[in-house]
């Protein structure tokens, strides 16, 4: 018995943090969130949520998962221990993407149909503010210090930078056509914005708001129109960024200093969003057209497994 416990203990140590990891994937056509075990890389269960789930984010304490269910005009609250929806939050109409403010109290939600960003108070479950932005707001990001919230508007082709406290627009920056995702660098000094139609990522200095660089992605054998930049994930150390390239079926690894594309990973069809594991050694992409997620081993620089999760995987979150 003692031996067995010792073996068990040693196993858990060897397996490391990945063993305790869980991947959550929103399936926009199935109205579910797939739960995938990080250690075995297999589907554990699916959680029924509202209609057309896309954007997702965990609560600050990682106990809850918020899921934007666009066709039901609300945000579902999933208890991660119970693995079921335990409540709802208002969101304004047609929420697609949102961020949890570092204060843990507020959500900033893109209302795609109303050209608004709604601010939701989690505790009272009330919309407490709204900010007018461009046509079809989509991507959302918040700086680590909580000072700024950024939002892209797809048809207006802009990224809107707002003060998270006063809810006033600080600046509106023109970006390449049909911007999708936006991300702050971990130090908050840079703002990265992807463009679906141009297939580029534009980098801005957050303070001066000047454009400091542009990344173009060339995928051998794929025409210009087939390379579309969507989801962006920044490594915690700020040295690397990962960009999902949609119909090019690739995820790009970008050196944030030189803006050079280090390598391209061939994943499933039409990756929308990507997420890094807590130890930063693994990347997972949600592949919309092939109904699966791809696990990328970043140390060995290879795609190690694809796991079917449902129809229309869109958002991906990695939690404990």
């Amino acid at each position: 018995m003692q031996v067995l416990i010792a073996i068990l203990l040693s196993m858990s140590i060897v397996a490391g943090p990945a063993a305790a990891e869980t991947i959550y994937v929103s399936n926009e056509q199935d109205n579910t969130v797939a739960v995938v075990d990080g250690a075995s890389m297999s589907l554990s269960t699916t959680i029924n949520v509202g209609r057309r789930p896309r954007g997702m984010a965990p609560s600050v304490d990682k106990k809850l998962l918020f899921v934007a269910v666009g066709d039901d005009n609300r945000i579902d609250v999933v208890d991660l221990a119970k693995r079921q929806v335990i409540g709802q939050l208002p969101s304004g109409a047609d929420p697609e993407f949102f961020v949890v403010h570092p204060d843990g109290k507020r959500l900033f939600v893109a209302n795609e149909n109303d050209n608004l960003v709604s601010v939701v108070d989690i505790a009272s479950a009330k919309v407490i503010g709204a900010v007018d932005v461009g046509v079809e707001p989509e991507g959302m990001a918040v700086s680590a210090d909580g000072r700024y919230v950024a939002c892209t508007s797809e048809t207006t082709s802009m990224v809107h930078l707002m003060d998270a406290g006063t809810l006033e627009l600080v600046d509106n920056l023109l970006v390449d056509t049909r911007p999708r995702a936006v991300a702050f660098s971990p130090d908050g000094k840079q703002l990265w914005v992807s463009s679906e139609i141009r297939g580029t990522v534009t980098v801005f200095d957050t303070t001066s708001r000047a454009e400091t660089g542009k990344i173009e992605f060339e995928v051998p054998g794929i025409r210009r129109e087939g390379v579309q930049a969507v989801g962006i994930e920044m490594a915690r150390d700020g040295a690397t960024a990962y960009v999902a390239l949609g119909p090019a079926n690739r995820v790009a690894e970008v050196d944030t200093k030189t803006l050079a594309v280090r390598r391209l990973y061939l994943v499933g069809q039409r990756p929308w969003h990507v997420a890094l594991s807590d130890d930063q050694k693994r990347l997972v992409s949600a592949n919309g057209n092939s109904g699966d997620i791809s696990f990328i081993d970043l140390e060995n620089e290879e795609v190690v497994k694809s796991v079917p999760v449902g129809r229309g995987p869109w958002g991906v979150v990695i939690g404990p």
Binding site: N115, E136, T155, S157, M158, T177, R178, Q228, P247
Partner: protein
């Protein structure tokens, strides 16, 4: 004189520095059309087809414009039946309009682009699918946002070839437009390796199927008209929507119906909700209180193209916008999954062709496997090498 000159100078100096938003006035010229008799009780009667699309384009252009100090305005002209476009064009030019959305039939459009002041303007054909306008009758001052018949036929043909529905029964209506569509379909069949096994004109008078017991007549007539040897799909060319819809479900052999009715190839359809189109459809329905048609979409594309160019250039200068639209760099997001641009050789906007059923999107062409040295979008319509257009 000196005073006038100094005022002029003052104006010139003041203009670029002023913080006031600058305004781009875009012209729209349409025609009063006899509303077609609705073939079915669910058909929506539309009288402002095209115009509403242009108006939505202005609202979308202003979405970006308000952040850049650019204002967009639509100057609308609608011709009476039979009215020549000359005066309307002149009045648009007099209000300083350079860009005109031409929601006109081919004959009127040809008059419009040849009007005395038209040389200094740029027209966007949002209505006429005639290939001649992109071929021998092409003009330097004319772009096309509505797909040509060749593009529609190619889009449909690729889907059939992908499905291996390669033997077609072509049923052709009596009007010149139907003949032109049939010619485009024959060209596509030859191009993509399909075979037209039966090629027949529709010779019955347009029947009113909505009369009481109308279905009884049709149930007798259609099987007789479709009593032919075997085929895979019945392709109907009936642009006036006079008989095509009567065919489905009544053919002698149980076969699908496609073309201008049934499974329809078009630049836009109200059933499209992919590639973010839901938002465009919602915005349109909120504004127009009806579904967005392919003509609305083509007019929207025209106005958005101008707006997109103005955004990228951060300028409302017509010459710069015209040059940019024709350059290889221009790319418009059109809710069909990839960027849209204008062909340099004939001014046609390259774009996917939607294949739609009455309730849902069925497919979108180009189909997988149809390759091209430039872009798969150029597998649809008249390609550079075969173009007869000489500006």
């Amino acid at each position: 004189m000196k005073l006038a000159l100094s005022i002029l100078l003052l104006l010139l100096v003041a203009a670029p520095g002023s913080a006031a938003p600058r305004t781009m006035v875009i012209g729209y010229i349409g025609q009063t059309r006899m509303p077609p008799l609705p073939l079915g009780p669910l058909d929506q009667p539309v009288s402002d087809d095209g115009l509403q699309g242009a108006r939505l384009g202005i609202a979308d252009d202003d979405g970006t414009g308000r952040f850049l100090g650019q204002n967009f305005k639509l100057e609308e002209r609608v011709l009476k039946p039979g009215e020549a476009p000359k005066d309307a064009i002149a009045s648009l030019a007099a209000t300083g309009v350079t860009f005109v959305v031409a929601d006109l039939d081919a004959a009127t459009l040809s008059q419009a682009v040849a009007a005395p002041v038209a040389d200094k303007m740029l027209f966007f054909n949002s209505r006429a699918p005639d290939d001649a306008l992109r071929q021998q009758d092409c003009r330097k001052n004319l772009l096309h946002t509505v797909p040509s018949r060749a593009m529609l036929a190619d889009g449909l043909a690729q889907y059939f070839v992908w499905k291996r529905w390669q033997r077609w029964f072509l049923l052709v209506g009596p009007h010149p437009a139907d003949q032109a569509m049939a010619a485009a379909l024959r060209r596509s069949a030859a191009r993509f390796g399909a075979e037209i096994v039966v090629d027949k004109p529709w010779t019955f008078r347009p029947a009113n199927g909505r009369a009481d017991t109308g279905h009884v007549t049709l149930q007798t007539e259609i099987p007789a008209a479709t009593q032919v040897g075997d085929y895979d799909v019945l392709v109907v060319a009936d642009e006036a929507d006079e008989f095509g819809a009567y065919v489905e479900g009544r053919t002698a052999l149980p076969r699908p119906v496609a073309g201008t009715q049934g499974l329809v190839a078009s630049g836009w359809s109200a059933v499209n909700e992919e590639w973010g189109a839901t938002q465009l459809q919602d915005r349109f329905r909120k504004q127009a209180k009806r579904w967005m048609t392919a003509y609305d979409y083509a007019a929207w594309l025209a106005v958005r193209s101008i707006g997109e160019a103005a955004t990228r250039l951060r300028s409302l200068d017509p010459a710069a916008i015209t040059a940019y639209l024709r350059s290889g760099d221009f790319l418009l997001a059109g809710f069909k999954g990839q960027g849209l641009s204008f062909r340099t050789w004939d001014g046609q906007m390259r774009q996917p062709i939607l294949i739609s059923g009455p309730r849902l999107l069925v497919s979108s062409s180009p189909q997988p496997g149809f390759l091209h040295q430039r872009t798969p979008l150029d597998t649809l319509g008249i390609d550079l090498e075969e173009s007869a257009c000489r500006f």
